[in-house]
Protein backbone atom coordinates (compact mmCIF):
# COMPACT_ATOMS: atom_id res chain seq x y z
CA UNK A 1 0.00 0.00 0.00
CA UNK A 2 1.27 3.47 -0.86
CA UNK A 3 0.86 6.12 1.84
CA UNK A 4 0.74 9.87 1.17
CA UNK A 5 3.82 10.20 3.40
CA UNK A 6 6.00 7.50 4.84
CA UNK A 7 9.42 7.18 6.44
CA UNK A 8 11.45 3.98 6.61
CA UNK A 9 14.24 3.75 9.17
CA UNK A 10 14.85 7.49 8.92
CA UNK A 11 17.92 8.58 10.87
CA UNK A 12 19.60 11.96 10.84
CA UNK A 13 22.45 13.84 12.45
CA UNK A 14 23.78 17.30 11.56
CA UNK A 15 27.38 16.14 11.23
CA UNK A 16 29.17 12.80 11.24
CA UNK A 17 30.38 13.07 14.83
CA UNK A 18 27.30 14.58 16.43
CA UNK A 19 24.50 12.62 18.16
CA UNK A 20 21.59 11.16 16.19
CA UNK A 21 18.69 13.62 16.17
CA UNK A 22 16.38 11.10 14.53
CA UNK A 23 16.93 7.41 15.13
CA UNK A 24 15.29 4.86 12.79
CA UNK A 25 11.95 6.64 12.51
CA UNK A 26 9.16 4.63 10.88
CA UNK A 27 6.12 6.73 10.20
CA UNK A 28 3.05 6.34 8.02
CA UNK A 29 0.58 9.14 7.44
CA UNK A 30 -2.75 8.08 6.05
CA UNK A 31 -5.01 9.98 3.69
CA UNK A 32 -7.18 12.53 5.52
CA UNK A 33 -5.45 11.88 8.83
CA UNK A 34 -4.36 14.52 11.33
CA UNK A 35 -1.22 13.21 12.96
CA UNK A 36 0.27 15.12 15.87
CA UNK A 37 3.88 14.79 16.95
CA UNK A 38 4.82 16.13 20.35
CA UNK A 39 8.13 16.40 22.13
CA UNK A 40 10.27 18.60 24.30
CA UNK A 41 12.30 21.50 22.90
CA UNK A 42 15.37 20.14 21.15
CA UNK A 43 13.87 16.68 20.68
CA UNK A 44 14.17 16.93 16.89
CA UNK A 45 10.59 17.84 15.95
CA UNK A 46 11.59 20.58 13.49
CA UNK A 47 14.35 18.38 12.06
CA UNK A 48 11.73 15.70 11.39
CA UNK A 49 9.53 18.31 9.65
CA UNK A 50 12.49 19.36 7.49
CA UNK A 51 13.12 15.72 6.52
CA UNK A 52 9.45 15.14 5.69
CA UNK A 53 9.25 18.27 3.54
CA UNK A 54 12.50 17.61 1.68
CA UNK A 55 14.31 20.65 3.14
CA UNK A 56 16.69 17.98 4.47
CA UNK A 57 18.67 16.86 2.47
CA UNK A 58 17.88 19.24 -0.43
CA UNK A 59 18.48 22.61 1.30
CA UNK A 60 20.01 21.86 4.70
CA UNK A 61 22.96 19.55 4.91
CA UNK A 62 23.59 16.68 7.28
CA UNK A 63 23.83 12.90 7.37
CA UNK A 64 20.53 11.27 6.50
CA UNK A 65 19.88 7.54 6.34
CA UNK A 66 16.73 5.63 5.48
CA UNK A 67 13.92 6.84 3.25
CA UNK A 68 11.28 9.54 3.16
CA UNK A 69 8.61 8.60 0.65
CA UNK A 70 5.96 10.92 -0.74
CA UNK A 71 3.37 8.75 -2.47
CA UNK A 72 6.04 6.12 -2.90
CA UNK A 73 8.73 8.44 -4.35
CA UNK A 74 11.88 9.16 -2.39
CA UNK A 75 12.42 12.84 -1.51
CA UNK A 76 16.17 12.61 -2.14
CA UNK A 77 15.41 11.74 -5.77
CA UNK A 78 13.00 14.67 -6.19
CA UNK A 79 13.62 18.40 -6.38
CA UNK A 80 12.19 20.88 -3.90
CA UNK A 81 9.70 22.54 -6.29
CA UNK A 82 8.19 19.12 -7.10
CA UNK A 83 7.95 18.34 -3.40
CA UNK A 84 6.39 21.77 -2.83
CA UNK A 85 3.37 20.79 -4.92
CA UNK A 86 2.85 17.70 -2.77
CA UNK A 87 3.95 18.75 0.72
CA UNK A 88 3.30 22.22 2.12
CA UNK A 89 4.96 23.39 5.31
CA UNK A 90 3.96 26.22 7.65
CA UNK A 91 6.79 27.31 9.94
CA UNK A 92 6.81 28.61 13.49
CA UNK A 93 7.62 32.25 12.78
CA UNK A 94 5.12 34.00 10.50
CA UNK A 95 7.51 36.95 10.04
CA UNK A 96 10.02 34.96 8.02
CA UNK A 97 7.38 33.40 5.74
CA UNK A 98 6.00 36.64 4.38
CA UNK A 99 7.95 38.62 1.81
CA UNK A 100 5.55 40.81 -0.17
CA UNK A 101 3.76 44.11 0.37
CA UNK A 102 0.23 42.75 -0.18
CA UNK A 103 -1.58 39.54 0.79
CA UNK A 104 -2.49 39.02 -2.87
CA UNK A 105 1.17 39.13 -3.97
CA UNK A 106 2.04 36.76 -1.16
CA UNK A 107 -0.48 34.17 -2.34
CA UNK A 108 0.43 34.61 -6.00
CA UNK A 109 4.12 33.84 -5.36
CA UNK A 110 3.88 30.02 -5.26
CA UNK A 111 1.66 29.53 -8.34
CA UNK A 112 3.79 32.05 -10.27
CA UNK A 113 6.83 29.90 -9.55
CA UNK A 114 4.99 26.90 -10.97
CA UNK A 115 4.22 28.84 -14.19
CA UNK A 116 0.46 28.65 -13.58
CA UNK A 117 -1.50 30.89 -16.01
CA UNK A 118 -2.64 34.28 -14.68
CA UNK A 119 -6.35 33.39 -14.62
CA UNK A 120 -5.78 30.24 -12.58
CA UNK A 121 -3.53 32.11 -10.15
CA UNK A 122 -6.48 34.45 -9.49
CA UNK A 123 -8.71 31.47 -8.78
CA UNK A 124 -6.14 29.90 -6.47
CA UNK A 125 -5.75 33.17 -4.54
CA UNK A 126 -9.50 33.38 -4.03
CA UNK A 127 -9.69 29.75 -2.96
CA UNK A 128 -6.73 30.03 -0.60
CA UNK A 129 -8.18 33.12 1.09
CA UNK A 130 -11.62 31.53 1.33
CA UNK A 131 -10.19 28.42 3.00
CA UNK A 132 -8.59 30.50 5.77
CA UNK A 133 -11.42 33.06 5.93
CA UNK A 134 -9.22 36.03 5.03
CA UNK A 135 -10.92 37.26 1.84
CA UNK A 136 -11.34 40.75 3.27
CA UNK A 137 -7.56 41.19 3.63
CA UNK A 138 -6.63 40.47 0.00
CA UNK A 139 -5.28 43.94 -0.83
CA UNK A 140 -3.85 44.71 2.61
CA UNK A 141 -0.26 44.60 3.72
CA UNK A 142 0.38 41.34 5.59
CA UNK A 143 2.86 43.20 7.78
CA UNK A 144 -0.02 45.09 9.43
CA UNK A 145 -1.87 41.93 10.47
CA UNK A 146 -1.82 40.17 13.85
CA UNK A 147 0.43 37.14 14.40
CA UNK A 148 -2.49 34.73 13.96
CA UNK A 149 -3.64 36.45 10.76
CA UNK A 150 -0.09 36.40 9.39
CA UNK A 151 0.08 32.68 10.07
CA UNK A 152 -3.24 32.20 8.25
CA UNK A 153 -1.82 34.11 5.28
CA UNK A 154 1.31 31.93 5.37
CA UNK A 155 -0.98 28.88 5.36
CA UNK A 156 -3.08 30.28 2.50
CA UNK A 157 0.14 30.91 0.53
CA UNK A 158 1.05 27.25 0.96
CA UNK A 159 -2.47 26.14 0.02
CA UNK A 160 -2.24 27.94 -3.35
CA UNK A 161 0.30 25.26 -4.32
CA UNK A 162 -2.46 22.67 -3.72
CA UNK A 163 -0.37 20.22 -1.66
CA UNK A 164 -1.93 16.96 -0.55
CA UNK A 165 0.07 16.89 2.68
CA UNK A 166 0.44 19.78 5.10
CA UNK A 167 3.01 20.08 7.87
CA UNK A 168 2.54 22.57 10.69
CA UNK A 169 5.88 23.06 12.44
CA UNK A 170 4.75 24.55 15.78
CA UNK A 171 2.67 26.93 13.70
CA UNK A 172 0.55 27.89 16.71
CA UNK A 173 3.39 28.66 19.11
CA UNK A 174 3.58 32.41 18.46
CA UNK A 175 -0.10 33.27 18.13
CA UNK A 176 -2.97 34.18 20.44
CA UNK A 177 -5.93 32.03 21.54
CA UNK A 178 -8.26 33.31 18.80
CA UNK A 179 -5.61 32.69 16.12
CA UNK A 180 -5.02 29.16 17.45
CA UNK A 181 -8.74 28.38 17.35
CA UNK A 182 -8.98 29.68 13.75
CA UNK A 183 -6.02 27.55 12.65
CA UNK A 184 -7.51 24.47 14.28
CA UNK A 185 -10.80 25.10 12.44
CA UNK A 186 -8.86 25.38 9.17
CA UNK A 187 -7.04 22.11 9.95
CA UNK A 188 -10.38 20.34 10.41
CA UNK A 189 -11.69 21.84 7.13
CA UNK A 190 -8.56 20.64 5.33
CA UNK A 191 -8.98 17.19 6.83
CA UNK A 192 -12.55 17.13 5.49
CA UNK A 193 -11.13 18.09 2.10
CA UNK A 194 -9.00 14.93 2.23
CA UNK A 195 -5.62 16.47 3.08
CA UNK A 196 -3.18 14.60 5.28
CA UNK A 197 -1.88 16.79 8.09
CA UNK A 198 1.09 16.56 10.40
CA UNK A 199 1.06 18.89 13.38
CA UNK A 200 4.24 19.24 15.33
CA UNK A 201 3.52 20.74 18.72
CA UNK A 202 4.87 21.16 22.20
CA UNK A 203 1.61 22.53 23.60
CA UNK A 204 -0.75 19.68 24.44
CA UNK A 205 -3.76 22.02 24.38
CA UNK A 206 -3.50 22.24 20.60
CA UNK A 207 -3.87 18.50 20.05
CA UNK A 208 -7.66 18.21 20.29
CA UNK A 209 -7.93 18.12 16.48
CA UNK A 210 -5.49 15.23 16.09
CA UNK A 211 -6.55 11.69 15.14
CA UNK A 212 -3.34 10.16 16.39
CA UNK A 213 -0.58 11.45 18.66
CA UNK A 214 3.05 10.34 18.71
CA UNK A 215 5.86 11.53 20.90
CA UNK A 216 9.41 12.12 19.74
CA UNK A 217 11.79 11.18 22.53
CA UNK A 218 15.57 10.70 22.18
CA UNK A 219 15.22 10.52 18.42
CA UNK A 220 12.57 7.82 18.43
CA UNK A 221 8.84 8.01 17.77
CA UNK A 222 6.52 6.34 20.24
CA UNK A 223 2.79 6.36 20.94
CA UNK A 224 1.85 9.21 23.22
CA UNK A 225 0.56 8.04 26.60
CA UNK A 226 0.24 11.42 28.27
CA UNK A 227 3.92 12.09 29.03
CA UNK A 228 6.83 13.56 27.03
Amino acid sequence: MTYPLETRNLSFCYSQHSRLILDKINLRVELGQVLAIVGLSGSGKSTLCYCLSGIIPLVQQGEMWGQVLIKGSQTREMNLPTIATRVGIVFQNPETQIFFPTVEDELAFGPENLCIPQEEIGQRIEEGLRLVGMEAYRYMSPHHLSGGQKQLIALASVLTLKPEILIFDEAMSQIDKVGKQRIKEVILDLKKAGKSIIMVEHDLKNLDVADRILVLRQGRLEDFVGLF
Binding site: T96, P101, F109, I116, Q123
Partner: protein
Amino acid sequence: MQTSSSTQTIEENELDPRSKLCIVFALSSVAVFVQKIWLLALILMLGMVLTYLLGENLHLFKRFGRIIWLFVGIAVIQSIFTPEGIPLIAIGKIRLLTVGGLEKGVCFLLRIMAIIVPASIMISTGTREIIQGLVQWKVPYEIAFMVSLAIRFLPLLSEEIKDTFIAIQLRGIELDKIPLGKRLRMYSYLFMPVLSGVILKARELSTAMETRAFRAFPRRTSYRVLKLQNQDYLVMGMSLCFVIVVLTINFYYKGGF
Protein backbone atom coordinates in the same frame (compact mmCIF):
# COMPACT_ATOMS: atom_id res chain seq x y z
CA MET B 1 -12.64 35.27 -12.19
CA GLN B 2 -13.07 38.12 -9.77
CA THR B 3 -9.91 40.07 -9.80
CA SER B 4 -9.57 43.78 -9.59
CA SER B 5 -7.87 45.17 -12.65
CA SER B 6 -6.20 47.80 -10.48
CA THR B 7 -4.16 45.11 -8.80
CA GLN B 8 -2.97 43.47 -11.95
CA THR B 9 -2.04 46.61 -13.81
CA ILE B 10 -0.91 49.98 -12.58
CA GLU B 11 -3.77 52.46 -12.27
CA GLU B 12 -4.26 54.53 -15.40
CA ASN B 13 -2.93 57.86 -14.19
CA GLU B 14 -0.04 56.38 -12.27
CA LEU B 15 3.39 56.07 -13.77
CA ASP B 16 4.81 52.63 -14.45
CA PRO B 17 7.63 51.73 -12.00
CA ARG B 18 9.97 51.47 -15.00
CA SER B 19 9.29 55.14 -15.84
CA LYS B 20 10.01 56.08 -12.25
CA LEU B 21 13.22 54.06 -12.36
CA CYS B 22 14.21 55.93 -15.55
CA ILE B 23 13.66 59.30 -13.82
CA VAL B 24 15.69 58.22 -10.78
CA PHE B 25 18.44 56.78 -12.95
CA ALA B 26 18.58 59.90 -15.17
CA LEU B 27 18.73 62.38 -12.28
CA SER B 28 21.13 60.36 -10.13
CA SER B 29 23.52 59.47 -12.92
CA VAL B 30 23.86 63.01 -14.28
CA ALA B 31 24.39 64.23 -10.70
CA VAL B 32 27.47 61.99 -10.55
CA PHE B 33 29.04 63.48 -13.71
CA VAL B 34 28.07 67.14 -13.50
CA GLN B 35 30.70 69.51 -12.06
CA LYS B 36 28.98 72.88 -12.25
CA ILE B 37 27.27 74.14 -9.12
CA TRP B 38 24.34 75.82 -10.90
CA LEU B 39 23.70 72.67 -12.93
CA LEU B 40 23.77 70.51 -9.80
CA ALA B 41 21.41 72.93 -8.07
CA LEU B 42 19.09 72.73 -11.09
CA ILE B 43 19.15 68.91 -11.01
CA LEU B 44 18.38 68.95 -7.28
CA MET B 45 15.49 71.36 -7.78
CA LEU B 46 14.13 69.28 -10.64
CA GLY B 47 14.41 66.17 -8.47
CA MET B 48 12.49 67.87 -5.64
CA VAL B 49 9.77 69.13 -7.99
CA LEU B 50 9.36 65.72 -9.64
CA THR B 51 9.30 63.96 -6.27
CA TYR B 52 6.57 66.35 -5.12
CA LEU B 53 4.59 66.04 -8.38
CA LEU B 54 4.70 62.26 -8.17
CA GLY B 55 2.96 62.42 -4.82
CA GLU B 56 5.91 61.89 -2.50
CA ASN B 57 6.52 64.15 0.49
CA LEU B 58 10.30 64.05 0.41
CA HIS B 59 10.15 61.42 3.19
CA LEU B 60 13.56 60.06 2.35
CA PHE B 61 15.01 63.56 2.51
CA LYS B 62 13.50 64.01 5.98
CA ARG B 63 14.71 60.58 7.06
CA PHE B 64 18.20 61.57 6.02
CA GLY B 65 17.81 64.77 8.04
CA ARG B 66 20.04 63.46 10.81
CA ILE B 67 22.89 62.29 8.62
CA ILE B 68 22.70 65.32 6.34
CA TRP B 69 24.86 67.07 8.98
CA LEU B 70 27.48 64.42 8.39
CA PHE B 71 27.54 65.41 4.72
CA VAL B 72 27.64 69.10 5.66
CA GLY B 73 30.62 68.30 7.89
CA ILE B 74 32.38 66.43 5.08
CA ALA B 75 31.68 69.36 2.74
CA VAL B 76 33.26 71.79 5.23
CA ILE B 77 36.31 69.54 5.68
CA GLN B 78 36.63 69.18 1.91
CA SER B 79 36.50 72.93 1.44
CA ILE B 80 39.19 73.40 4.11
CA PHE B 81 41.52 70.87 2.46
CA THR B 82 41.10 72.29 -1.04
CA PRO B 83 43.28 75.43 -1.05
CA GLU B 84 42.30 76.75 -4.49
CA GLY B 85 41.32 80.27 -5.53
CA ILE B 86 40.95 83.41 -3.46
CA PRO B 87 41.43 82.81 0.27
CA LEU B 88 38.40 83.73 2.38
CA ILE B 89 39.82 82.82 5.80
CA ALA B 90 43.56 82.60 6.39
CA ILE B 91 45.89 82.47 9.40
CA GLY B 92 49.21 83.88 8.25
CA LYS B 93 50.20 81.89 5.18
CA ILE B 94 47.83 79.03 5.99
CA ARG B 95 44.68 79.30 3.91
CA LEU B 96 41.80 77.80 5.88
CA LEU B 97 38.95 78.49 3.50
CA THR B 98 39.13 79.43 -0.15
CA VAL B 99 36.59 80.14 -2.91
CA GLY B 100 37.67 76.93 -4.71
CA GLY B 101 37.34 74.87 -1.54
CA LEU B 102 33.94 76.34 -0.78
CA GLU B 103 32.81 75.52 -4.33
CA LYS B 104 33.98 71.90 -3.96
CA GLY B 105 32.20 71.54 -0.61
CA VAL B 106 28.94 72.96 -1.97
CA CYS B 107 29.28 70.75 -5.06
CA PHE B 108 29.66 67.68 -2.86
CA LEU B 109 26.63 68.56 -0.77
CA LEU B 110 24.45 69.31 -3.79
CA ARG B 111 25.55 66.09 -5.50
CA ILE B 112 24.68 63.93 -2.48
CA MET B 113 21.28 65.58 -2.17
CA ALA B 114 20.64 65.34 -5.93
CA ILE B 115 21.26 61.58 -5.68
CA ILE B 116 19.22 61.01 -2.51
CA VAL B 117 16.15 63.14 -3.31
CA PRO B 118 15.08 61.41 -6.57
CA ALA B 119 15.29 58.03 -4.80
CA SER B 120 12.20 59.18 -2.81
CA ILE B 121 10.22 58.74 -6.04
CA MET B 122 10.39 54.97 -5.58
CA ILE B 123 9.16 54.96 -1.95
CA SER B 124 5.44 54.55 -2.68
CA THR B 125 6.11 51.92 -5.36
CA GLY B 126 5.60 48.42 -4.01
CA THR B 127 8.54 46.02 -4.13
CA ARG B 128 6.46 43.55 -6.14
CA GLU B 129 5.87 46.20 -8.83
CA ILE B 130 9.57 47.03 -8.94
CA ILE B 131 10.39 43.31 -9.33
CA GLN B 132 7.81 42.99 -12.09
CA GLY B 133 9.21 46.06 -13.84
CA LEU B 134 12.71 44.61 -13.74
CA VAL B 135 11.49 41.18 -14.90
CA GLN B 136 9.65 42.77 -17.84
CA TRP B 137 12.91 44.56 -18.64
CA LYS B 138 14.36 41.04 -19.03
CA VAL B 139 16.37 41.20 -15.81
CA PRO B 140 16.62 37.54 -14.58
CA TYR B 141 13.92 37.07 -11.94
CA GLU B 142 16.41 35.67 -9.42
CA ILE B 143 18.27 39.00 -9.48
CA ALA B 144 15.04 41.02 -9.31
CA PHE B 145 13.94 39.03 -6.26
CA MET B 146 17.36 39.45 -4.72
CA VAL B 147 16.81 43.22 -4.85
CA SER B 148 13.38 42.81 -3.27
CA LEU B 149 14.71 40.53 -0.54
CA ALA B 150 17.47 43.00 0.24
CA ILE B 151 14.75 45.62 0.82
CA ARG B 152 12.77 43.11 2.93
CA PHE B 153 15.92 42.28 4.85
CA LEU B 154 16.56 45.82 6.15
CA PRO B 155 13.60 45.87 8.59
CA LEU B 156 14.67 42.41 9.81
CA LEU B 157 18.14 43.75 10.53
CA SER B 158 16.87 46.84 12.33
CA GLU B 159 14.40 44.67 14.30
CA GLU B 160 17.22 42.37 15.38
CA ILE B 161 19.35 45.31 16.51
CA LYS B 162 16.41 46.90 18.40
CA ASP B 163 15.58 43.59 20.13
CA THR B 164 19.18 43.12 21.22
CA PHE B 165 19.39 46.65 22.64
CA ILE B 166 16.08 46.27 24.47
CA ALA B 167 17.28 42.94 25.92
CA ILE B 168 20.42 44.67 27.22
CA GLN B 169 18.51 47.56 28.74
CA LEU B 170 16.10 45.12 30.41
CA ARG B 171 19.11 43.65 32.19
CA GLY B 172 19.63 47.00 33.86
CA ILE B 173 22.30 48.55 31.65
CA GLU B 174 21.57 52.16 30.84
CA LEU B 175 23.31 52.70 27.55
CA ASP B 176 23.16 56.50 27.76
CA LYS B 177 24.98 56.54 31.07
CA ILE B 178 28.03 54.41 30.32
CA PRO B 179 31.21 56.01 28.94
CA LEU B 180 31.76 56.03 25.17
CA GLY B 181 34.75 53.65 25.29
CA LYS B 182 32.82 51.03 27.25
CA ARG B 183 29.78 51.54 25.03
CA LEU B 184 31.83 50.93 21.89
CA ARG B 185 33.30 47.76 23.42
CA MET B 186 29.77 46.60 24.25
CA TYR B 187 28.65 47.24 20.67
CA SER B 188 31.49 44.98 19.47
CA TYR B 189 30.21 42.21 21.78
CA LEU B 190 26.72 42.64 20.34
CA PHE B 191 27.87 42.41 16.75
CA MET B 192 28.13 38.61 16.65
CA PRO B 193 24.71 37.76 18.20
CA VAL B 194 22.99 40.32 15.98
CA LEU B 195 24.76 38.97 12.91
CA SER B 196 23.99 35.34 13.73
CA GLY B 197 20.34 36.22 14.45
CA VAL B 198 20.05 37.97 11.11
CA ILE B 199 21.71 35.10 9.25
CA LEU B 200 19.28 32.63 10.85
CA LYS B 201 16.31 34.79 9.85
CA ALA B 202 17.67 35.12 6.31
CA ARG B 203 18.02 31.37 6.15
CA GLU B 204 14.44 30.87 7.34
CA LEU B 205 13.25 33.38 4.73
CA SER B 206 15.08 31.64 1.89
CA THR B 207 13.89 28.20 3.05
CA ALA B 208 10.30 29.48 3.09
CA MET B 209 10.79 30.74 -0.48
CA GLU B 210 12.27 27.45 -1.64
CA THR B 211 9.42 25.45 -0.10
CA ARG B 212 7.05 27.56 -2.16
CA ALA B 213 8.71 26.38 -5.37
CA PHE B 214 10.99 29.38 -5.97
CA ARG B 215 13.38 28.67 -8.88
CA ALA B 216 11.25 25.68 -9.96
CA PHE B 217 11.68 26.70 -13.60
CA PRO B 218 13.96 29.07 -15.51
CA ARG B 219 10.90 31.30 -16.08
CA ARG B 220 7.84 32.11 -14.03
CA THR B 221 4.45 33.57 -14.80
CA SER B 222 3.20 36.78 -13.21
CA TYR B 223 -0.19 37.51 -11.78
CA ARG B 224 0.61 41.21 -11.85
CA VAL B 225 1.46 42.47 -15.32
CA LEU B 226 2.70 45.98 -16.04
CA LYS B 227 1.77 47.78 -19.24
CA LEU B 228 3.52 50.88 -20.49
CA GLN B 229 1.20 53.72 -21.47
CA ASN B 230 1.82 56.80 -23.65
CA GLN B 231 2.77 58.87 -20.59
CA ASP B 232 5.43 56.30 -19.71
CA TYR B 233 7.01 56.44 -23.16
CA LEU B 234 6.97 60.24 -22.89
CA VAL B 235 8.65 60.18 -19.47
CA MET B 236 11.29 57.69 -20.61
CA GLY B 237 12.01 59.74 -23.74
CA MET B 238 12.25 62.95 -21.73
CA SER B 239 14.57 61.28 -19.22
CA LEU B 240 16.90 60.23 -22.03
CA CYS B 241 16.81 63.71 -23.58
CA PHE B 242 17.52 65.22 -20.16
CA VAL B 243 20.62 63.05 -19.70
CA ILE B 244 21.92 63.94 -23.18
CA VAL B 245 21.28 67.70 -22.78
CA VAL B 246 22.79 67.94 -19.29
CA LEU B 247 25.89 65.92 -20.18
CA THR B 248 26.34 67.97 -23.37
CA ILE B 249 26.17 71.22 -21.40
CA ASN B 250 28.57 69.83 -18.82
CA PHE B 251 31.18 68.60 -21.32
CA TYR B 252 31.00 71.24 -24.08
CA TYR B 253 30.79 74.37 -21.97
CA LYS B 254 33.62 73.67 -19.57
CA GLY B 255 34.92 77.18 -19.58
CA GLY B 256 31.64 79.08 -19.53
CA PHE B 257 28.62 79.26 -17.25
